[in-house]
Every structure is written in structure tokens, then in C-alpha cells.
Symmetry: C2
Subunit: 339 residues, 2 copies
């Protein structure tokens, strides 16, 4: 069953649960805000739903709540940061902020963060960068969770790639994992007794299938765009490893480290006001965004949207009506907060 | 019918055809090499096959063979270049080389090239960067040639994204357009009387189809990964326009300008030896590449490959046996060279 929890109540409950698990006050505040915002925006998998698993990781020592990110190398417009297996969200925010500082000086800034932990919803950082007026490109090199094209075993990460474009209004934010459907999404389809609209992976006989249950069993999830998403995921892996000199996919695929334990993340930011013509650049952005909305829709009742267009509306609605929460998950987080 | 033309013969014939069309000697040499290499690598669409169209563009004044790229703004690690509608290949090479020069100084370099023309095979520049020891990310913002997800009209470019990873041996080069199948590829399927393996677009009734002929008619080509490739193409459009302050997609969609007339291209390069640990970085790259080849194949007779793995082999084979050429196209290029 779904509940509607007031935004501030959800946030303070998550905050409390984190404090009880040993997260320092300032970090608990930030993480609670970001998990709540994710749920409010409709990305429940990395919002409230992820809190118990995050706390489990803290308790198993996979995430060190006291570790601070450390700038270990710096040259020109590039920095390398060691996350020391600290909290993924606060590490990634630190790195994104450093990348913006570098972009202020050099026009473009690049931060490679290694030895960090799960950043939760990937779009968070591109969104933050864009809200501060910078264009941002970021991605994560995860453990293997998807077969490479032509393989029947998990051999590449789903490596979400995020691009944030600043605007006067809500930024455009692409948050794109390299699997066509996330495992979490397949679970939702399975629970609802539904097949996916497009092939979601391969079954036990190696046949392409629309059956989410079959793919949850084989773990042969479909790469986005078949061979193309497989190739892009691998290229991002290689590029991220090169930039961070961090762990390779196969080094972070040890299950004892949890999801994304010791992973690398890349943050590239660009200052669109670099050459003093931001007004013109902004006008072009607005014209392009308007052209998207003006594109003739294939279904007249569903206007064409840009990535992130619905986010601001969903957030506002969640703030008004309460944030959707699964009853069992909410009870669990309340229990973790009341210990 | 297919012919096998000796590599040097094809190159000198293309060179001659370009000279006859008014391309200066140095540029004709470079372009002939790149068109020939594309055909030799199996990318015939942007190799020999593209030469007559390129010469047609020259003759219609859509490409100015005498125009030189001009650095119009420069700050920190970023440069903007105006291509003055010069030759796409030589403009893009100039921009890629500038990006490497910037990366040598700042660790990362970023060049936004605007007002340029078709760069032919996109992977050329990521490959060049990687061969010189730099990691490269580049993309192009093309005219509309694909519907946005949810639209039934062409409203976004297919915007190829290329990533090149240096190695001791052949670089890893991803060259990924945001359409699942290129129009050229659909033409090949249609000629062979074949359906595509995966949905290639939408037919006249708006239904998803595997029929290449139907999609060539509607121009409703399928984005890579459905909604995902559509979103990524748009994000690259917006990012590229922001960086170059160049023409928006809808501004370069006027058919009178030819394909990619006045388009923008972005070149980001990164120096993997920035922090003096290139040996370690390279070892990680080799381990990752080896892990790809070691991934269990779903078909035991087809080992898993990384993007660009076949390129060096195909090039060597073409140099030995001759480069595959369509008879009619070859005759046409010979005619253009003999004028």
C-alpha cells in the first residue's frame, strides 16, 4: 500500500534514522534532503526505498560516515579526489562543487572521484550543477550488473550518464543508465504481473524476452539500444578508470563491497558564461526547449517533453500532497529512526 | 557489384577528384586519406560512397574549400572556433588538435567548433586523439533527422557521440549515433530484402516496425534505446549549442544547407599522463579490455569484442586485399577525378 508522507516529516525521519546509524549531523541533513527529494520527484528507488540498504551498508562498515573526501592530485583544470569510502552523496556533492570551482577559473573543470560509494540518484549532481548555472556531465563506473553485448554473464556496469543544462527555469537533466530497464523497474513490472513494452533482457534459454521475472532470474538485463548501450557503458568505464586511476569494474564487482563500493565518478562542468554571451546562449537554449514542446506528438494527448521537464511539477505536487511511500518501507525507516 | 580497389589507388583517385573540385592540395591529401581509411575500415557510407555528395556540396557552394578555421574566443582550457563553412574533415582535425594542445597545458581541453560542415565518420577524431595518447570525447549537433520520443516528426539530430581510449595497441573507439539504425543501414537491409533484427522505427500508421522500407518512407527512425537515445541526443544538442553558441538544430534543418551545413562539434580531450601514473592507468585499461574478451560469450563461436576491436584487422585486410567499393560509386568517383 502507498502512503503520502509530508515532505518535512519524511526528511526528518530519514535524518533521524541516519543519525542513529552514526552519520554526523551535517551529513545526515544533506542526505535526508536528497533521499526525500528523490522520492518526491518520483525516483523512489534511490529515495526513501534506499535508506534501509544505506544504513545496512553503514552498519556493515561498507560506508564510513566519518570519512572525508581528500583532493589527492591537482593540475590545471583537473583534480583527483579520494572518497575514502565515505558517504556517496556527500562525496559526490563535494566533487561536483570542486568541478564548478575549477570551471570558474579554467572555463571547464574536471574532477575524478575514486574509492567512493553509491551516489544514489545520479541526476542529483547534474541538477545541482545546472541550478548553479553550469553545464554538467557526470557518470559513474559501477560494478558489473549487465552483460556486455554478445555475452551471457554480467560483465559491464549500467554506468548512468547524466547531463545538466542550466536555464532560467527548471534545468534540463538527463539521467540515463545504460540498461534499458533498471532491476528495480523490472521488479515493479513483475509485481504488477506485466510484461515490459520493449525487450528487457534474455531468459534462461538465451532468448530475448519481455518477461521481467525471467530477466530478474538470469540477470541478463538488456543494454539500452542493444549493442550501443553496451559499448557506451564500456567506454564510460574505461574513460572513468583512466581519469580516476580508480578500481576497474571487475575490482568493484566483489559482492562483499556492496553496490558501488569503491567505485569511481566523473564530474565535468562548463561555464556557459565563459565568453560573456550568456544571454545569447540562454536564448538558444530556450528556443530549443520550446521546439521540443512544439514537436508534433504522435499521441495528441501527450505533448513531447524534455528530460527533467516533469521533475519540478512532481516535486511541487509531492510537497503539496505528501511524498508517496511504500507502507512497509516507511515503517522500516520509522523503526530505524526510533531505535 | 563489389570491387576491390588497392588502397593507394582509391586514395589517389579521391584526391584527384577533390583537386578537380577546387580543394587545395594539402586538404585534398588529408580528406582522401580519411575517406579511404573509412572505406577500408568498413564504414563505406562515410568513405568512398560519400565523395560524390561532398563534391556536389562543394559545387553548390555549401562547403567552402578555401575557408580556414578561426579561433574566435579563448579562455583557460576552452576555445571556440568558427569553421566558416570550410571542409568538415580539416576543420574537425584542427579542432581536435587544438583540444589536445589545451589538454597538454590544463589536463583537459575543450574546443567548440561552430559553423562547420559534415565531419564524415565521427570516430575519426576520437581515434586520432587516442592514437596521440589522449582520451577524447566528441560529438556533433546535426540537423533534425529523427523524431524525439513521443513525436511523429523529425525533431532531433542523431548526434553521434564518440569516445576514444588510448592504449599501447589499437585504441578503443566508440562511435555511436543516437539512431538505432542509420538511414544508410536501412537502405542496405531494404536492398537485401531483409527486416531489421530490432525495431527500426515507425510505419505510416504509427506502429513500431522492423520494415526498413516503411521507415525510409516515414523518416520516423527509431532512437537508440527508444526514449533514452532521444533524451541523450537532445542533451548533446543543448550542451553543444551552449558551448559553441552555434546554430540550434532547427536552424540547421533547412535542406538548402545540406546535411550538417553550419553545424557544431565539440571536442573534449584529457591527458591520461597528467599525474605521472600513465603506466598504472594503462595497466588498468589493459585489464579491463582483457576482461571484455574473457567475458563468457552467448554464442561460443563469437567472442565478445570491445568497440573498435575489429577496425585494425579490417584495415589491414583492406590494405592487403584491396578496399571494397561499389562498382557504380567507384565509376562515378573515377569520372569526377578524370574531368
Amino acid at each position: 500500500m502507498s502512503l503520502y508522507i509530508p515532505y518535512e516529516e519524511m526528511k526528518s525521519t530519514i535524518r533521524q534514522a541516519m543519525l542513529k546509524a552514526g552519520v554526523p549531523e551535517d551529513k545526515a541533513e544533506i542526505c535526508a534532503e536528497i533521499h526525500t527529494a528523490s522520492s518526491a520527484d518520483g525516483v523512489e528507488s534511490h529515495g526513501l526505498n534506499r535508506v534501509p540498504r544505506f544504513i545496512d551498508y553503514l552498519e556493515r562498515g561498507l560506508v564510513d560516515p566519518l570519512a572525508e573526501p581528500e583532493i589527492i592530485s591537482s593540475r590545471g583544470a583537473v583534480e583527483r579526489i579520494d572518497g575514502h569510502l565515505g558517504i556517496g552523496i556527500t562525496n559526490a556533492l563535494f566533487a561536483a562543487d570542486r568541478a564548478m570551482e575549477l570551471a570558474k577559473v579554467h572555463g571547464i573543470g574536471c574532477v575524478a572521484l575514486r574509492n567512493t560509494t553509491h551516489w544514489m540518484r545520479g541526476g542529483t549532481y547534474a541538477h545541482r550543477t545546472a541550478e548553479k548555472g553550469f553545464m554538467g556531465i557526470s557518470w559513474i563506473c559501477t560494478e558489473s550488473c549487465m552483460p556486455l553485448w554478445g555475452s551471457d554473464e554480467m560483465s559491464v556496469g549500467n554506468n548512468p550518464l547524466c547531463i545538466g543544462i542550466p536555464r532560467d527555469g527548471s534545468p534540463v537533466v538527463l539521467d540515463m543508465a545504460m540498461s534499458q530497464y533498471a532491476y528495480g523497474k523490472l521488479g515493479v513490472y513483475e509485481l504488477a504481473g506485466k510484461q515490459t513494452e520493449y525487450p528487457c533482457g534474455f531468459d534462461e534459454e538465451g532468448k530475448m524476452t519481455y518477461d521481467p521475472g525471467a530477466v530478474l532470474k538470469t540477470k541478463r538485463i538488456m543494454p539500452t539500444g542493444y549493442w550501443k548501450g553496451s559499448g557506451l557503458a564500456l567506454a564510460l568505464d574505461l574513460a572513468g578508470t583512466m581519469m580516476s586511476c580508480g578500481k576497474c569494474t571487475h575490482e568493484i564487482s566483489e559482492p562483499r563491497d556492496g553496490s558501488c563500493g569503491g567505485c569511481s565518478q566523473i564530474f565535468i562542468t562548463y561555464d556557459p558564461n565563459l565568453f560573456g554571451d550568456y544571454d545569447e546562449v540562454l536564448k538558444k537554449t530556450e528556443a530549443r526547449v520550446a521546439a521540443v514542446n512544439a514537436a508534433h506528438p504522435s499521441d495528441p494527448s501527450r505533448p513531447v517533453q524534455w528530460p527533467g521537464e516533469g521533475t519540478a511539477k512532481r516535486r511541487a505536487k509531492s510537497k503539496e500532497r505528501g511524498v508517496t511511500a511504500n507502507e512497509k518501507v516507511w515503517e522500516e525507516v520509522c523503526r530505524l529512526a526510533a531505535r
